[in-house]
């Protein structure tokens, strides 16, 4: 009998752990919301965080966007050629990027670069007792360290998503028009007639905003609960990247179903 209980416990424990984490992360989220006044009074903290997570990610996002756009151009061309609809290439590239690839990929890349960086920073501060020292000096670490990082993240992610899309569309243009000699005018005009501002651009932006909240929240949470040791911080950063990727993909499905 005991064996069966043990088996159930082993199978069930990831679920209960997951729910436990879900509760704690929601708790942290509300604590951050309550502390938002402080960082806005010390705006320089937020500026610093936008720089570390946003500005430093510009290159990776732009280059990735460009490559993804190029691949879309190539693959799109190959497939559309079979149906004689190569003129739709502009639409295919733009819609794929704006609706899905832009928000999703830029969020996941952000998590890998900036998110894991945030986790490592917070985890390290925890391991070297800096968080405790701050608490004992009567300054709430959530207000001073975590909230600014959170705000920096949710500002940076949508902007990076826009950059990704822009780079991607130009990448698609480069492949379609410059390399594969599609007509320039057709490329843009077909795109314009199929892309809608509210339906596609805005929805994509809303998606990236929501992804930004999720990814940044996961990053600061993992740093906050990391075990104060080298191994602990390393595990935490891995968790950030993995959880962020899975969460973004799951949210993407839900949002796509709601929006499109």
């Amino acid at each position: 009998m005991k064996r069966i209980y043990n088996a159930i416990a082993i199978i069930g424990s990831p679920f209960t752990t997951f729910i436990l984490h879900l509760g704690r992360i929601t708790n942290l989220f509300f604590q951050i919301l309550l502390s938002l006044a402080y960082p806005f009074k010390n705006f320089s903290l937020i500026i610093k965080e936008i720089h570390f997570s946003g500005v430093r990610s510009i290159v990776i996002i732009a280059v990735s966007g460009w490559f993804v756009g190029m691949v879309l151009g190539l693959q799109g061309y190959n497939t559309l050629e079979r149906f004689g609809s190569v003129s739709m290439l502009g639409s295919v590239v733009a819609l794929s990027l704006l609706r899905e690839l832009g928000p999703v990929l830029s969020a996941i890349l952000f998590a890998s670069r900036a998110g894991s960086g945030m986790t490592a920073e917070i985890g390290l501060m925890k391991a070297t007792e800096q968080i405790d020292a701050m608490s004992v000096m009567a300054v709430d670490p959530i207000k001073r360290i975590i909230a600014p990082k959170f705000i920096g993240g949710i500002i940076a992610v949508p902007i990076l998503s826009l950059l990704f899309n822009t780079a991607g569309i130009w990448g698609g243009y480069f492949v379609g028009v410059t390399l594969l000699h599609l007509d320039r005018g057709t490329f843009w005009s077909q795109m314009q007639s199929s892309v809608q501002f509210h339906g596609d651009v805005m929805n994509g932006l809303i998606k990236s905003f929501i992804f930004g909240i999720a990814v940044t929240l996961i990053a600061v949470y993992q740093g906050f609960i990391a075990k104060p040791s080298a191994l602990g911080v390393s595990l935490a950063t891995t968790n950030t990247v993995v959880s962020s990727a899975l969460t973004v993909l799951a949210l993407d499905f839900i949002l796509t179903a709601l929006m499109f």
Binding site: L124, M125, T128, E129, Q130, D132, A133, M134, S135, V136, M137, A138, V139, D140
Partner: protein
Amino acid sequence: MEKNIVVIKNVTFGYDEDKPIIKNISLNIPQGKITAIMGGSGSGKTTLLRLMSGQYTADRGSVSVFDQNVGSLNNREILKLRRNLGMLFQFGALFTDMSVYENVAFSLREHTDLPQEIIDKIVAMKLEAVGLFGTQNMMPQELSGGMARRIALARSIALDPELMLYDEPFTGLDPISLNVSAMLIKKLNDALGQTSVLVTHDIEASLKIVDYIYFMAGGEIVASGTPEEVQKTNNPIVRQFIDGKVSGPFSFEYDTSLDYNTYIGLDSQSGNLS
């Protein structure tokens, strides 16, 4: 009648409720004096310090600091209490993304509205007190361990707190830095009229500067007294600690139910491997 800044009464605490680290401890920290809490590793001394700063709440009993029960304070009251409290962490815990100046000025900037020039002067004074005036623009990564700890000390006295808690301030220091730190703690305590609690296992330095000592072992207080009393004591636990004896009530072997000889296969009669 001497006032007690910290009064700990019948406190029991453990990270896990079934495994208490602190078992029914009572002690007082008198005002203006330096009190040491000594004991082996894992005896619970750092945990006791954290109970005093309010970082943990006792499972049973009361911890009162400045006549306030720390366990029952809400967040805002705890923050207010902590402005009068300075804590020095084992390795300094300086904020690595800020310069020395910004570290020392941290409390001043967060809790006061003093203008830049005055903060500059106060930072200079605190650094001078620890003998490190001139390091304002350095970053924590550039400092040696001893220097980092002294800067952390300057940081924790920025608001001239009445109560200072030191967590293993002497660990890992060379003999000179050790003495410098010890003298510094004494000087600050007397000059600023502070009450200091020192958690340490360094005998020499403590006996020189401390007014009273509590010995902890296994989560309980096993002995206490002034430095003179402690040096002359017959209490075997204290004796072993002070003299650094290898054998005695403190065992340095790990407590296990396995029997070494049986494990190795040693024949208990002849002493040969069977």
